[in-house]
Amino acid sequence: MLVHFQKALADLTASPALCREVRENPDVLRELYQLSEKEWRRLVSITASKGMEANCMLYRANRLAPVALNLPETCEAIRDDLNRLISAYWDSEPITDVHFLVEADRFCCFLEHQEELSPQAREALAREHAVVSAKLAATRQNATQVTVKSPTE
C-alpha cells in the first residue's frame, strides 16, 4: 500500500535506529507496515543505500533548525550535551511541529525538566524561553480564519 510505503520511508528517515534494525533484519518492515513485495524490496534497497545516511542527517538538521534559530544561547550553553538532549527530546516528541515557535517552546519545556542542566544553561534557557513564549503568544493572538487581504482591500 502506498500509504504504508510512504509512512515507512518517513519513519526510516526520522530514525537511524530503525534503519539499523532493518539492515540487520529486513523482515521488520513486513511486521510494521502493509507492503507489497515490490514496496518491501524498494525500502530494503533504500535503507541500505548511502543516500539514506544523508536523508537521516538532513532530517535531524531540519528538525534542529527551529531550536537553533530561536534558542542559540541555550544551544551554546548545552553544547557538549546538545546531541544527547535533542535526541532524547525527539524520542519523547517524535512528530515535528512545523510551527517553529511551537517546536522551540516544546524543547524549552523538555529542557526545564532536565535536572542536570548547568546554572548557566538554565539562565539562558529562562531568558530565551520567555522570548519564545511571548512571540508564540503573539502569533496565537493573531491566529484567525481571515485570509490574506489583497492590496486594494
Binding site: L2, G51, D97, P151
Partner: protein
C-alpha cells in the same frame, strides 16, 4: 527585457527587500513561498493560521511594480492523502492578494500519510515512487489546484539522496505524462539536477534530453554545500559553473520558458553578498537575452 525573453527574478526571503531596493528594475519578479507568510497551528486548531503581517506588508511594498510567482512547499502533492483544504484556501487567498503569474509545488513528499498537518511533516522532501499510481495521485491534485487557483500549475524536480528503485518510468517521463494528462508544466531546477548527478550518478544530458521541451516554464538556479560526502541543495552559494553551462545549452531549447529564478536562503545573504546576488541577476539577464536572440532568429 524584450517581450520574447524569460523574466528574471529572485526567490523571496527576508533578505531580499534590501536587494530589491538596491537593484530596482533589474529584478523583474519575485517568487513567493506562501507558507512563509503565516504560522500554522495545525488542523485541529480552531484558529489555525496566524498571518505574518509585517512580512506581508513588506512584501506588498516590494511587489507594486513587479510580477509575482507563487512557489509552495506545503501541499505535498505526491503524499497518499487528500489535499489539505484549509491550507489550499490560504494559498488561494494569497494568490488573490498577489496575483501569481503561476503557482508551483514539488515532486517530493513533505507530509507523512495518515497523520494531519502540522504533525504530519516529514521534515524534508522525500523521494516518490515513479509509477502510474503516483501519477494518478499527483494528476488529481494538480487538477484540484488548477480549479481552485485558476492559474497555471507547475511541478518542480527535487533533490533526492536515494532514488526509489524499480521505477515504472523515469522522472522526465513522469513530468511528460503529467503534462500530457493535465497541462501541468515543469519547473526545472538545474541545481537540483546537478545535486542528483553528483549524489546519484545521474546523467544530466540523458535527463534533459528526455524532457519534452514544451513543458519547461521556469528554471531555478542556486548553489549548495557538501555535507559529509553528500552534495546538498542548501541555497547557500552562487550558481556553480556546470549549472550555468547546462542553462546556456538547454534553456534556449525550451520554447515556453518564461522565467529564470535564483534561489538563496537568507542565512547565506552575508556569504553571497549583495554584489554576489547582483552578479547572478546580471548573468541571468545575459542568459535571457541569449534566449531572446535565438527565439528571434527562429521567428
Amino acid at each position: 527585457m524584450h517581450g520574447n525573453e524569460p523574466i528574471v527574478g529572485l526567490l523571496y526571503n527576508p533578505a531580499v527587500p534590501s536587494v530589491l531596493d538596491a537593484l530596482g528594475s533589474q529584478v523583474d519578479f519575485v517568487e513567493v513561498i506562501p507558507d512563509r507568510l503565516w504560522y500554522d497551528f495545525g488542523v485541529t486548531a480552531s484558529r489555525r493560521f496566524s498571518h505574518a503581517s509585517a512580512a506581508i506588508d513588506e512584501l506588498r511594498d516590494h511587489v507594486k511594480s513587479r510580477r509575482v510567482i507563487g512557489h509552495g512547499i506545503g501541499l505535498s502533492l505526491p503524499s497518499a492523502m487528500p489535499l489539505d483544504g484549509r491550507l489550499l484556501d490560504e494559498v488561494v487567498a494569497t494568490h488573490r492578494a498577489f496575483n501569481f503569474e503561476w503557482y508551483s509545488e514539488h515532486l517530493s513528499m513533505f507530509l507523512v500519510p495518515g497523520r494531519s498537518v502540522p504533525n504530519a511533516q516529514a521534515g524534508m522532501g522525500l523521494p516518490v515512487v515513479l509509477d502510474d499510481e503516483t501519477l494518478r495521485l499527483v494528476a488529481g491534485k494538480v487538477r484540484q489546484l488548477q480549479q481552485a487557483l485558476g492559474t497555471e500549475i507547475l511541478l518542480e524536480n527535487s533533490t533526492i539522496f536515494s532514488a526509489i528503485p524499480e521505477p515504472d518510468m523515469t522522472e522526465p517521463a513522469f513530468f511528460n505524462r503529467l503534462y500530457e494528462e493535465t497541462g501541468c508544466g515543469m519547473l526545472l531546477d538545474l541545481h537540483n539536477l546537478y545535486a542528483n548527478t553528483i549524489n546519484l550518478g545521474m546523467s544530466a544530458d540523458e535527463y534533459l534530453s528526455e524532457i519534452d521541451p514544451r513543458i519547461v516554464r521556469e528554471i531555478h538556479l542556486a548553489g549548495g554545500d557538501w555535507l559529509k560526502g553528500h552534495y546538498t541543495d542548501s541555497h547557500s552559494r552562487a550558481t556553480p559553473s556546470p549549472v550555468w553551462k547546462w542553462a546556456y545549452e538547454w534553456a534556449p531549447r525550451f520554447p515556453n520558458l518564461g522565467a529564470i529564478t535564483f534561489e538563496y536562503h537568507e542565512s547565506y545573504h552575508k556569504r553571497i553578498g549583495l554584489s554576489g546576488v547582483a552578479q547572478e541577476i546580471e548573468k541571468m539577464h545575459d542568459l535571457a537575452h541569449d534566449i531572446g536572440s535565438q527565439r528571434r532568429e527562429v521567428a
